[in-house]
Symmetry: C2
Subunit: 366 residues, 2 copies
C-alpha cells in the first residue's frame, strides 16, 4: 500500500512524495539496481549513507537464485535477507526473460525459458511473477509484460501489446497482498501504438504506471519522442516510472516531461569499468593523464571517495585490479546520481528545472 | 623513530606497546596485509572500525606499481595516498623477489629480476630497498634479506645468511630518515644455523627483529621448533616479529614463545575463498548445509557482517559472485584475527595465555 502526493510543479515536471510502510520516497527518485539481492559493490550501510531511499531487485534473478521460496521461508522478506530496511521495487521478470532470446518461448499462459545459470526449464506467468514478488515482500511490484525485441512487425507489436494488457489484468487479479502494483505500457517507438497501449493500461486500477521497452537499443531521438508524447498522458495522480533509463541528461529530460521514478545500472556498471560521472562530464579513470593527478574525481563532490582519495590512487587501484576499486567508484557514481536527483527536486520546487536541463546538456551530450 | 615497552608478561609471552609518531600499537599485534596500497576488499574506514592499529605494505609491489617515486612526489607518503593515517610497516621486497624463482639473479650487490607485470628488467639492493621504503614514508622498514628456497645445501644456506648479514649492515648504513628499521634472521629449519644468524643480526643496531623464512612450505613441526628455539633468544627490549604467520593456532603458539608482531594474508585471502574463521573453527560458506541457515557466521561475533547478515545470504553472495561477498567475508575474518589479538593481550595480562592456546588448539588443529 502506497500513497502519492505532488508537492510542487514546474511546467510538466513534478516533485512529490510516495509514502510506503517502509518509509517515504521523494520524487523524482533514482533507484540503485540490486539485481541479485545486493547492489553491486556497495553495502547497505553505504547505500543509506548515500541517501538511497529505494532500491530495485530483479525478480528473474532472485527466482533462479537463491529462489523466492527460500527468501520467504528463511528471511520473511528480501529486506531482511539483505539488511536493507527501506523500500524495494521489484521488476516483473519480463524484461530479463525476453532478453534471453532463443532460450524462451512465449504463450498466452506465460513464458517458458531456460535458466542462464544451469539451463533448467522454467516458466513465468503473470500469476507466478506476482507470487514471486509477493514472496520477496516487494513494496512496489510490476505487472508481467512483454518487451518485444525491435524491430518487429506491426502485427507482432499489436498482438504483444494486447497480450500484455491481458497479462496486466491477470497480474492485478493475482495480487494477494497490500503491496503496490504498477502497470507497464509498451509500443516500441511508434507514438500512436504507445498512446493506444497507455490508454488500455491506464484504464486498469494500478497504483502507478511505467513506460517499458525504452533504452533497449533504439535511437535516442526515438526514445525522447516517446517520452515527450506519452509521459504527460500517464495518469496524473499516480507515480510515473521510466524503466531502465538512463544517462544524467536522459533523466533530467524525462523529469521535464513529467516522469517521477528511474532505475538504471549505468552508475554501478560504469563505475566498474572506470567511467566516473562528474559535474564536468565523464572521467575515465584508466587514462594516463590521471597518473599523477592528486585531485579528487570531482572537486565539487563531497562523497566518501572524493573526500578521501585522488584520481592517481583510483587509477592505480583500477589498473591493479584491487577489490576496493569498484567499491570506491560505485560509491562515487551513485552519489552523483542521488545528488543529481536532489538537485532535480530542488529545481522543480523553485521552478527552474529547465535551467538544470540546460546545464546538464552542456556537459553530457548523450 | 619508535619506542617499545613491555607492560606485562606471562611465561615467555609479553604484552607491550610500540609508540610511533602515527600512534601506538598494542602488542601482540596482527597487521592486515595491504600489498598494493590497499587491504584487499576492505576500505580504510572499515579497517579503523575493525580496530586495525597498523597495516603492512609490500615494497616489491609498490616499487613496480604505482612506483615509490610517484607515491613520494604526488602524495608525500603512502599513508596520504591510501587515506590511512595509522602506522604502516613495509617489507623489504626480498621475499617477493625471491619468490620469482628463475626470473631473478642474486649477486653480492643485490638482485636482478623481471617484473611480473610487464617483464621489465629491475634491480633491488639493500640501498634501493631502503630508498623505496623511505620514499613510501614507512613507519617500520625491514632490512633487505634473502629467503632461500628450501631445501638447499648447507653451503648455500651459510653463504646466503652471511650475505644477508652484509645486506643488513648495508641497509642500516643506507638509512636517511627517522623511520624504524628491523633486522631479519634466516637459517631455514636448522636450529643451529638459526641461532648463529640470530646472533649475527641481533648484534646490529636495529629497532626490532624478525624471524624470516618460515611458513614457506616447511613442516609445521619444523616451524614450531624454530620458533621455540629462537624467539626467546631475540633481543628482549625490542619488538619481535614473526613474518608471514599464520593460523590462529600458530599465532597464539608464537605468542607463548615471546613473539610480538604478526602479518598474514590468510584472513583476507581465505575470506575471498569463502573460508571463514569462527570460534568453533573454519566455516566454508560455499557448503550446501548453509543454504537455509539464518544464523550469522559466528553467533559469538559482533562484527558488521555477523550483526547484519546470515550464512544463507553470504552463501548466496559467494555463489552469485557478488562484489560484496569478499567485502563482507574479509571484514569478518579480519575482525576475528584482530579480536583474537585483543584476547591474546588480555590473557597475557592475566597470565592465562596458556589457557587460550589450549582453547584455540582444541578448535584449530593446524
Amino acid at each position: 500500500m502506497i500513497s502519492f502526493r505532488i508537492e510542487a510543479r514546474s511546467g510538466k515536471a513534478r516533485k512529490g512524495v510516495i509514502e510506503t510502510c517502509r518509509g517515504k520516497i521523494e520524487t523524482p527518485i533514482f533507484m540503485p539496481v540490486g539485481t541479485q539481492g545486493a547492489v553491486k559493490a556497495v553495502l547497505p550501510e553505504q547505500l543509506e549513507e548515500l541517501g538511497a531511499q529505494i532500491i530495485l531487485g530483479n525478480t528473474y534473478h532472485l527466482y533462479l537464485r537463491p529462489g523466492h521460496r527460500l527468501i520467504k521461508d528463511v528471511f520473511g522478506t528480501i529486506h531482511n535477507m539483505m539488511s536493507w530496511n527501506r523500500p524495494i521495487l521489484t521488476d516483473s521478470g519480463g524484461f530479463q526473460v525476453f532478453s534471453l532470446g532463443p532460450l524462451r518461448k512465449i504463450t498466452e499462459d506465460g513464458v517458458y525459458f531456460s535458466s542462464h545459470i544451469d539451463g533448467s526449464k522454467r516458466f513465468i506467468s503473470p500469476e507466478i511473477s506476482i507470487e514471486i514478488q509477493e514472496a520477496l515482500g516487494s513494496d512496489i511490484m510490476m505487472a508481467f509484460d512483454e518487451c518485444p525485441a525491435l524491430p518487429c512487425t506491426l502485427e507482432y507489436m499489436v498482438d504483444s501489446m494486447n497480450r500484455t494488457t491481458r497479462w496486466a489484468e491477470r497480474s492485478l487479479a493475482a495480487k494477494n497482498t497490500e503491496a503496490a502494483l504498477f502497470g507497464i505500457f509498451q509500443g516500441g517507438v511508434d507514438v500512436e501504438l504507445r498512446k493506444k497501449h497507455l490508454r488500455d493500461i491506464s484504464a486498469l486500477p494500478f497504483d502507478g504506471f511505467a513506460i517499458g521497452g525504452l533504452s533497449v537499443g533504439e535511437k535516442k531521438e526515438d526514445m525522447y519522442k516517446v517520452i515527450e508524447e506519452t509521459a504527460s498522458l500517464m495518469p496524473e495522480d499516480k507515480p510515473r516510472y521510466l524503466m531502465g533509463v538512463g544517462t544524467p541528461k536522459d533523466i533530467v529530460k524525462a523529469v521535464l516531461e513529467g516522469i517521477d521514478m528511474f532505475d538504471c545500472v549505468m552508475p554501478t556498471r560504469n563505475a566498474r569499468n572506470g567511467q566516473l560521472f562528474t559535474s564536468k562530464g565523464i572521467l575515465n579513470i584508466k587514462r594516463k593523464e590521471f597518473e599523477k593527478d592528486a585531485r579528487p574525481i570531482d572537486e565539487n563532490c563531497t562523497c566518501y571517495t572524493c573526500r578521501n582519495f585522488s584520481r592517481s590512487y583510483l587509477r592505480h587501484l583500477y589498473r591493479a585490479g584491487e577489490y576496493i576499486s569498484p567499491v570506491l567508484n560505485s560509491i562515487h557514481n551513485l552519489y552523483f546520481y542521488l545528488e543529481l536527483m536532489q538537485k532535480v527536486r530542488t529545481h522543480v520546487q523553485k521552478g527552474t528545472v529547465e535551467d538544470l536541463y540546460t546545464e546538464i546538456s552542456s556537459v553530457y551530450e548523450r
